[in-house]
Subunit: 464 residues, 2 copies
């Protein structure tokens, strides 16, 4: 076993080695330095050397003090609306639990599906998949799932702090995170980047609409939705497995709770308002983060979320810090051309391969590069065009386009910061960053195999 100190030194050394390696031709030296810092940060988290928030702070300080980033650039991520959508949705989620409403929904789910942990896992994924087409922000959707996951865990006596997180909370959290990666790809309108990708594909003469997207996605996505919760149940098992009495207990708790309290009504109305606001935000030109902040303010005005609750909500500060910093670093790497340089280098030399091999290699590379990205949309904007241009003369266009778009969703759980929709669940305390790297990587591998093996013939069949 390596000590923490050894891991910390190794992370530092990795950063120094990259930093002092000669800058590859055609690359901005600033991009290379930033990559060295970013790589050290990510490695320190994967290796367990540092918690993600501390690794991120040290990365930010290193970037500023070495003048790799101007202070103004380095702190800019904290002022992104997306970050405040996450923070507000996280706080609203705590409010949903405080009000009792989270428990009520959890008991309703347990009453129906709660005789096994696996059943609860499937019920969460199914719920997510069914509400997904109404949420173009999967981050907002994760904010709705988060209190249900926490309440399900807590009602089964599984808490983040007291050593009982693996009881059931860790399994449900990881399953929900995996479910979000799949539900976001199931519908054209289940994630913000999907319509952007469809618009970009149209530029290559590839037409995809709501119906054809769902048709192409349905078979591989539903297969993955069936396989992944079961696979997690095997490799990351909850301690609690069969719970035959749980539905009866849930009914008893529901009877105890009686009708909805005033706080629950306030919360229910707020959540419905949020869902409506988020669903129509695009059409009405409303800022989603402001919708979320308004929802949070309403919960405070209604006494569901108190000032004392806020003063205990350091977890929101924690996710704000690490996600904003990693988001900034990844965005700057992209802005400096590092990402498209890397995509070109990795994919450009493959065009002489037979097309099925070229196709498979491009998808695998596209997925692996997501280790460096802190936004699904950013990767799509940076690399979708690059990869499509390389592939289109050789690979059937609708196939490669659709698979890249699906990959943009199913790869999101490869790291804790791989999608903003992971962040709230990652902040629950039920799973560690290291576990997300490990099991998120495994889930992504399973998704990759399922989509390539089952999705490829299916898409060729329905889209060509």
């Amino acid at each position: 076993m390596l000590t923490t100190t050894t891991r910390r030194i190794a992370s530092l050394l990795l950063g120094l080695v990259i930093w002092f390696t000669p800058v590859p031709a055609g690359l901005d030296p600033q991009a290379w330095q930033l990559f060295a810092i970013f790589a050290a940060v990510i490695f320190s988290v994967i290796s367990g050397a540092l918690p993600i928030v501390l690794a991120s702070i040290l990365g930010l300080v290193a970037a500023v003090m070495t003048a790799t980033l101007e202070p103004r650039q380095a702190y800019a991520g904290f002022g992104e609306g997306l970050i405040w959508l996450i923070v507000a949705a996280f706080l609203v989620g705590r409010g949903v639990i405080n009000s009792g409403l989270g428990y009520r929904v959890a008991y309703l789910l347990v009453r129906r599906f709660g005789s096994s942990s696996l059943g609860l896992g499937y019920s969460l994924v199914a719920t997510d998949a069914l509400i997904a087409p109404a949420f173009v922000s999967n981050t907002a959707r994760s904010g709705v799932l988060f209190p249900i996951v926490c309440a399900l865990a807590e009602s089964n006596h599984s808490r983040p702090e007291d050593g009982s997180r693996r009881h059931i909370g860790a399994y449900l959290t990881m399953t929900s995170m995996a479910g979000l990666a799949l539900s976001s790809g199931l519908w054209l309108t289940a994630m913000g980047a999907n319509p952007i990708g469809v618009a970009l594909a149209a530029g290559y003469g590839i037409k995809i609409d709501f119906g054809s997207w769902f048709l192409a996605s349905s078979v591989p996505t539903i297969t993955a939705m069936l396989v992944v919760p079961w696979m997690l149940y095997r490799v990351f098992p909850p301690e609690l497995k069969a719970t035959p009495h749980a539905p009866i207990e849930a009914q008893a708790r529901l009877d105890e709770m009686g009708p909805l309290s005033r706080k629950e009504w306030t919360t229910l109305a707020t959540v419905l308002g949020l869902v409506g606001g988020w669903a129509f935000a695009g059409a009405l030109g409303i800022d989603t983060a402001s919708v979320a902040l308004l929802g949070f303010a309403v919960l405070m005005l209604g006494g569901v979320f108190t000032l004392e609750d806020l003063r205990k909500s350091g977890g929101a500060l924690e996710i704000l810090i690490w996600f904003a910093i990693l988001f900034t670093m990844s965005s700057e790497l992209n802005r400096l051309g590092f990402m498209s340089y890397l995509g070109d280098q990795l994919a450009g030399g493959l065009v002489d391969l037979p097309w099925p091999l070229l196709y498979t290699s491009l998808i695998v590379i596209y997925v692996l590069i997501h280790y460096l990205f802190v936004s699904q949309t950013a990767q799509l904007l940076a690399l979708f065009g690059v990869f499509l241009s390389i592939a289109v003369p050789h690979v059937p266009g609708p196939l490669i386009a659709m698979m890249l778009l699906l990959a943009t969703n199913f790869f999101s759980v490869i790291t804790p910061q791989g999608s903003s929709c992971n962040v709230i669940l990652a902040g629950s305390g039920y799973v560690t960053s290291r576990e997300i790297y490990k099991y998120g990587g495994l889930i992504t591998l399973a998704n990759l195999v399922i989509y390539l093996v089952i999705g490829t013939p299916w898409i060729l069949f329905v889209l060509d």
Copy 2:
């Protein structure tokens, strides 16, 4: 007694009345709308309708949803380095307390000055005044004072949550905040805006250096340092007054503590490093916020501040939210020309008054306008030139320049957001925002009288 609901409705009405009042000639309509929102926010805090964090969030949402501010502008404040200096200094302050070092310094102060609350108040102000010339950031200085104030309060069994805050904590917090307003004006190098003001004054042919600044400032500032803690002791009294046994108890506690622990050494080294970093940040071109974040990271690496501590530090999120939002609104009002318009309107008509009356009116107006500003530097940059131009043909130049520069410091406690150096202490939970408005206003009035009555002849005597 007005109910909270009545106060909330009154705040909303105030905003609506201003919003629908015809825009004054020469003013940008956007500036007028933003002023309506800002006024409603401030009024809701002063009247006790809303806690400052909730008022700020509602103000931000209103500004975004009415398209008064673009989302990008509205969230920009969260990405200001200054805000992250505050957050990091706040967290470091908690680390200083966690390590035990805060208590040790507190006991040392109590052993020497602790036989009365008033004595402790004076000792805090004196400590601040003596270390001030080495801190060009008074925000950083407040981060050093904060753990001492908290430890002094806690060691006297006065805590923010359990109803004992008025025991001694509230008095010491308010006194320290008042002391910062004075210490920042005592030395040319005790606050970031001071050298800027001196540079601006040089443009009007007025020369001020480190020595002449201190000479001019010394008599009124030291007078105020003697008067204000005593005045607060009368109007905002601590419940604990004479504590003849406290020094003996403090000695006993120090004996118990024994020599510095490893955590205390880590913390002491970190704080000294921070002080050094902040002192030389300007000369070396280092970003002060990164210095603070590095200090915080060192405390986490050293185990002084744990992940669990961070997850309980929602107070840092609270001050981050309200200060960033108010800072943004005030900055935007300034950028849109509202502040200089107001300064011109209020001060421009006074030039025909006899000079002593003109001088006094200008200073009073300059101080009152600070109700709208969320940064001392911003007000200096916006209005120092305007006011100096109006005054200089009539009032002795060195007098009006020096008094405006001193006012830029002594008015800082007029609101919780009047200076970034208030924010950390305001976030301690020992004083409410309303109390800061009330007693901060009173202190500012006392400062105004002292500086005008004693400072004016003194400055004329030494600077002319």
